[in-house]
Symmetry: C2
């Protein structure tokens, strides 16, 4: 049913590594949470946490007491950001797959001590989760800043994997009467839910209600 | 503005650990991808991958040549599954947060060699990503099975963290004229996209088109 050429074409759409830094930035900049991996007492530990990017640096933060961040200071970490875009339904069980975009960053995390960089990193972190809020909400106090650890991670050692497109089945399976394709997974922002104790008359800002 | 009691109530809604195994199962069973953490040459490595659950066991799989899975065989792994449910918009930058549900499983992965358990594990993995497809698509061949490594991980050592509800602001900040609440993040399945080379007359099965 399929010529060699169209199989080759499907093959190129399969899970692939990308060396394009634009892809790296896109995967990172459109994410909300990363998974931070550290080694604690010889064991792997993977925790979900926020992050932000400025140029070639990722910023992570947490309580100064957090175990994962203490382990991360000056030691090797791995930060992974993954978007799941759809489920790839093949004619055979074996060729089922997932369309996803994933960035993996390896490196030695650096505890940020310079106050200006700490503020810039926290701003990037806040804006990643909630664009427009850094200038909208009350700025951090000296006490709040002191309670927050900020880590920096260079994007020097990073890889991106992207899988797009339909299934890549075995040649003989294309004759099977089995539906094949992609079931897309879509994410969207719901209607903002006001804090129950919010006073009357405070409207939802456009940067929240209009978020895309 | 807020009494101590209502602050206590908000406090209880904050990020919290759960020891309820029902919560653990719910977080795992509604996920698509996990993040698998392993230690390779002393460094942490975090990769997104599929998984499935049968009772008190998680199953992972991959190519028999995959570096992350080779490292996982018999060694300590960490498997984390995270759902992001919304962004918590507070009156202060510092109290911004994320509503999420996360499960972290620690343990020594076991390479599954028993053929019956391997098949059961692969079935759980497939059904997690694509419910109904194990019995619908062509079953794995002997050769395909041989190319697939299946790992088992006990759920004995697992933790669940769930954050729900609105922001928990500083008492004095409740007087600020700043909108506060939650911006929900919603995920949904899009319309199934048929493989471009799918012949006419093969309808989308209900277990795919009706997926919730």
């Amino acid at each position: 049913m399929l010529s060699t050429t169209s199989r080759t074409t499907l093959g190129r759409e399969k899970q692939r590594g990308s060396t394009d830094r634009t892809d790296l930035y896109e995967v990172l900049d459109t994410g909300l949470f990363c998974h931070l991996g550290v080694v604690v007492d010889g064991y792997p530990m993977v925790v979900p946490t926020g992050y932000g990017r400025i140029g070639e640096t990722l910023y992570l933060h947490g309580s100064t007491g957090a175990r994962s961040l203490r382990a991360g200071d000056g030691t090797e970490v791995c930060v992974t950001v993954t978007h799941v875009d759809g489920i790839v339904l093949a004619r055979s069980v074996f060729h089922h797959s997932v369309n996803y975009r994933s960035a993996i960053v390896y490196g030695r995390a650096r505890l940020v001590t310079d106050e200006e960089e700490r503020l810039a990193g926290l701003r990037a972190l806040t804006e990643q989760l909630a664009p427009g809020q850094w200038d909208h909400a009350r700025p951090p106090s000296r006490k709040e800043l002191a309670a927050t650890a900020v880590l920096a991670l260079s994007l020097e050692e990073a890889s991106v994997k992207i899988r797009r497109g339909g299934p890549s089945d075995e040649p003989e399976d294309y004759a099977l009467p089995v539906w094949a394709g992609v079931l897309p997974l879509e994410t969207s922002w719901g209607a903002p839910l006001p804090d129950p104790v919010l006073p009357e008359g405070i409207d939802v800002p456009v940067h929240i209600s209009g978020r895309r």
